[in-house]
Symmetry: C6
């Protein structure tokens, strides 16, 4: 898993932040099932099923929330105490 993990959670913009969230969601799946053959076999199940696609999008949304915070929402921070 090491080789796949991003070197940093900092991204230049929100779009790459979403890509990173997708990657983290996948790493979560691989942590439970590291066998790539099984994952490949399951792919049609989740990628062609509306319910699983929405569930996947939900996991991505949770990670995006974390990534966005890591990056201070990709907005300027001029010494303010904002959150």
């Amino acid at each position: 898993m090491a080789s796949e993990f991003p070197a940093s959670l900092v991204t230049p913009n929100a779009e790459e932040g979403l890509q990173l969230a997708i990657r983290l969601a996948r790493l979560g799946v691989k942590a439970v099932q590291p066998d790539m053959d099984i994952l490949r076999r399951l792919r049609p199940k989740y990628s062609e099923d509306a319910h699983e696609l929405i569930a996947s999008s939900h996991v991505i949304a949770v990670h995006f929330q974390t990534i966005a915070r890591v990056n201070d929402y990709w907005r300027d921070q001029e010494g303010s105490c904002d959150k």
Copy 2:
């Protein structure tokens, strides 16, 4: 996906923030299933099924939470430390 990603997570108001949340939820789905033909075929499944509609609304709610924070909840921030 690049072309569809919003240039910024900043929106003038909450209504456009919700629209952006909807867009991010869709981009999450497309990240897992980029084939538009399959997505179109699945559409009746999720858009005419109460369970999937509620699940979609849930993903939108999570992204809206992130977007609202990006935009400091669309309320004034006069140097305060508020959150």
Copy 3:
């Protein structure tokens, strides 16, 4: 959707905050399925099914969390840095 969207996420109290959360949850559903006839047809499905009612209450809870934060939890904020 424009006409239905609240002019502001600020509410005088928590009760109206919950009402607003309910409204946002509905707008999320309508964003995916804008056809009111289909939504009306689905109504018995989700409003008379324990699972869907709990799922709806969950989406409302997520939006309420956002709305509560917008409104600084409807408590006084006297220059404190509190969150």
Copy 4:
């Protein structure tokens, strides 16, 4: 619903905070299905089904998170910026 809504989200302690979270979760359900007869009829369905009980506990957990924050986690706040 008005009559049932708590006058305040502030509670003297965490235990009453959890009770309030339970109440908000119920108000979310009632907002979608206000007919008490239908809700009573559904009760055995969700209160004797492990899946629905866990789902209900989840909604309560989300509201408890909000209520805990409203109450500054029921811990002292002596001018600190802590969260």
Copy 5:
């Protein structure tokens, strides 16, 4: 329920924080179904079913997030404004 509720949400360390999160998740279930006989009868259903175990772990994760915040993440806070 009163007798079971923890006197405080403050715990000496993260491990006891997780134990407390588990307890809060259970209190949420008991709030909806207080009859211990029914809960005992349901036990095999959720404790020997992968889906319910994961769902339970999810509720625990949400409460752990709250408890961790109550305890300032069990890390030192030396007058900093950190969160």
Copy 6:
């Protein structure tokens, strides 16, 4: 469970933070079902089922959010009030 619980929620980097999130998700499952034989028997059910894998990844995402915050998102904090 004591022996398995991490001594600290602080990790040197995000990758180990994700590993810790996975561990917390598992501890949540074990809290509800401590019998390792039953858990082993259930393993094929959740590790070869797309739905359960996504659900597991979701729990991991929630814990990762907590762990990331414990570690101040693994970014520098130079006396700023940032979050």
